[in-house]
């Protein structure tokens, strides 16, 4: 909007927004803080804030104990790969459903989502056997495909919503300007939907990054991502909060950084001023 907010109002909203954000963020913050405490200090009662004994030991141990870079790299390949592959399939599909809706479009959308209805544990054995049989068990490509299929409905759904916001006249204009379908999607639709595509991308990278059932069930060593790394730190015998926190912090840090860099895209609103 063209009106500037008053500094007072801005200060108030800032205060409110930061309070809410910190409340929401607090558990994560607490986990990060815990990761720098000794195990004893981590569970100390009453909780220790400033007086805690800080240490980097947990990180050192976690780093030493397992091959973090390998897990990390697998996570990157799997989550980014599956998301990009998914986007490649989903953008055209979402385009058709948003701009050329038929009578069945809504049913189709719903059906796509319904492919996610089967509880993972119930299909574990069938999928496991399938992967063994196809020879893609414990391979990155296998996981890329699995996670892509898992998230494809979500990607399509999200893109569908964002595409729906774009006035179809602009696409028509492109068509009149001689753009073929490909150009229409590439030069007009995609750039206009950038914020939507960016949040879809981020959310799906996160979903894939955090997926902890299939990634563990379908891997052993070669393709195991950070979820397996985490599973090697949770709940062993003994005190573990600090180390688990350190491992978790290491697992979310990359994605936190990715979020940081992509937030500009995520939050950029487009002015659709060119259409009445």
């Amino acid at each position: 909007m063209a009106r500037a907010t008053t500094p007072r109002r801005k200060a108030l909203t800032t205060l409110a927004a930061w309070t809410v954000a910190l409340i929401i963020f607090f558990p994560v913050l607490w986990m990060i803080l815990t990761s720098f405490k000794t195990e004893a200090s981590a569970v100390a009662m009453p909780p220790e804030f400033l007086g805690a004994s800080w240490t980097l030991e947990n990180y050192a141990e976690v780093w030493q104990r397992s091959d973090y870079p390998r897990f990390f790299w697998n996570s990157v390949v799997i989550s980014v790969g599956s998301t990009l592959l998914g986007l490649g399939l989903a953008i055209p599909a979402a385009w058709s459903m948003a701009f050329v809706p038929g009578r069945r479009t809504k049913d189709l959308l719903m059906w796509m989502l319904s492919t996610k209805m089967m509880p993972a544990v119930a299909v574990m054995i069938p999928i496991y056997l399938l992967f063994q049989w196809l020879g893609i068990y414990d391979s990155k490509i296998g996981l890329v495909i699995a996670l892509m299929l898992m998230n494809l409905p979500i990607i399509i759904w999200m893109l569908y919503t964002y595409f729906k916001e774009i006035p179809s006249e602009i696409l028509e204009a492109a068509r009149m300007d001689g753009a073929n379908l490909w150009n229409e999607v590439l030069y007009v639709l995609t750039p206009m939907a950038v914020p939507g595509i960016a949040s879809t991308l981020l959310l799906n990278v996160i979903l894939a990054w955090n997926e902890a059932f299939w990634t563990i069930t379908l891997t052993t060593t070669k393709a195991a991502p950070l979820s397996a790394f985490i599973a090697s730190f949770s709940a062993p015998q003994g005190l573990f909060y600090a180390k688990l926190s350190a491992a978790s912090t290491m697992a979310i840090l990359p994605i936190l950084i990715l979020g940081w860099f992509s937030q500009k895209q995520l939050v950029r609103g487009l002015t659709f001023g060119a259409v009445k």
């Binding site: 319904s114 119930a122 299909v123 979020g259």
Partner: protein
């Protein structure tokens, strides 16, 4: 703008997605239906044969109906919390504030935490009656600590899952907010609508599609949740916080009874479809327009 040629192109462009999803659905679904009528225990491969008892076992299980109710409670509770809070937070962080970028990252950060880790953070660092921060807080205020997981297991699980999914809702709703043309808001302002009315009559209707999407997507995810329950309450005490997916989880992972798990899966699919149909009836029309 739907013409013959675009319609043809459109079919062509959905085809790959439909095809892969079809395979992805049919093969496991077919196998699962097959298994659901088989006696198939991983650890007793010598016992085989056809049976319908995998299904009857669920219906006869004393906690089955409770689990159904809990499943719906979980889905409904989390949906209500995330959609309402998500909308409010999206509105708040859509305002011009200092440090907007950092702020937004903080708000979506919970989504970055892997579900098992999130559950264990909440269980151990917050809700634990002896070591948790909440306990420390209530002791500090002179109250007995609340036994979250023992006395309010479902509410606790709903709380944890809501915390995990709040960023998802917030982010989608925020993106939707940003596509609202400022001219409409200006027009409403000229028409004498105050902030509340602008929200109710302009912003909210604009966001209905996004809210619908949040509801549908989350419903599908939430209908399958079991990890958080396993980490925190183990479905208990007793079966107070057992959900259908958690029942299936126990059959598949603990008891290794694949036949029963498959039957449970089929029941879950039917339940999910029912929920989806109800939802589509109720809010599906928000998807077009």
């Amino acid at each position: 703008m739907s013409t013959q040629s675009t319609r043809f192109a459109a079919r062509l462009m959905v085809a790959p997605s439909v095809l892969v999803l079809l395979v992805w659905m049919i093969v496991p679904l077919g196998l699962t239906i097959w298994y659901s009528f088989r006696i198939f225990r991983l650890l007793s491969p010598e016992r085989t044969g056809w049976t319908y008892r995998n299904y009857t076992w669920f219906f006869n299980a004393p906690d089955f109906w409770l689990a159904l109710v809990n499943t719906l409670l979980l889905v409904g509770g989390v949906l209500i919390i995330t959609v309402i809070l998500g909308t409010l937070i999206a509105l708040l962080i859509d305002q011009p504030v200092h440090g907007q970028g950092a702020l937004r990252i903080l708000v979506i950060a919970p989504f970055f935490v892997m579900p098992p880790v999130a559950a264990s953070i909440w269980e151990n660092l917050f809700m634990h009656p002896q070591n948790g921060l909440f306990a420390a807080l209530s002791r500090g205020l002179g109250y007995e600590p609340i036994l979250f997981l023992e006395d309010y297991p479902m509410a606790s699980v709903i709380g944890i899952v809501s915390w995990e999914w709040l960023p998802f809702a917030t982010l989608i709703l925020l993106t939707a907010l940003q596509s609202l043309s400022s001219e409409q808001l200006e027009a409403a302002e000229m028409d004498g609508a105050g902030a509340l009315n602008r929200f109710r009559y302009i912003i909210l209707p604009h966001m209905t599609r996004a809210i619908t999407v949040v509801i549908l997507i989350q419903t599908i995810f939430l209908l399958g949740i079991f990890g958080e329950i396993f980490t925190t309450t183990q479905g208990g005490p007793g079966s107070a916080s057992t959900t259908l997916p958690y029942m299936i989880f126990k059959q598949a992972i603990v008891a290794k009874d694949i036949g029963r798990a498959a039957a449970g899966g089929i029941i879950a699919v039917i339940l999910a479809n029912l929920v989806a149909i109800v939802l589509m009836r109720g809010i599906g029309k928000n998807l077009d327009a």
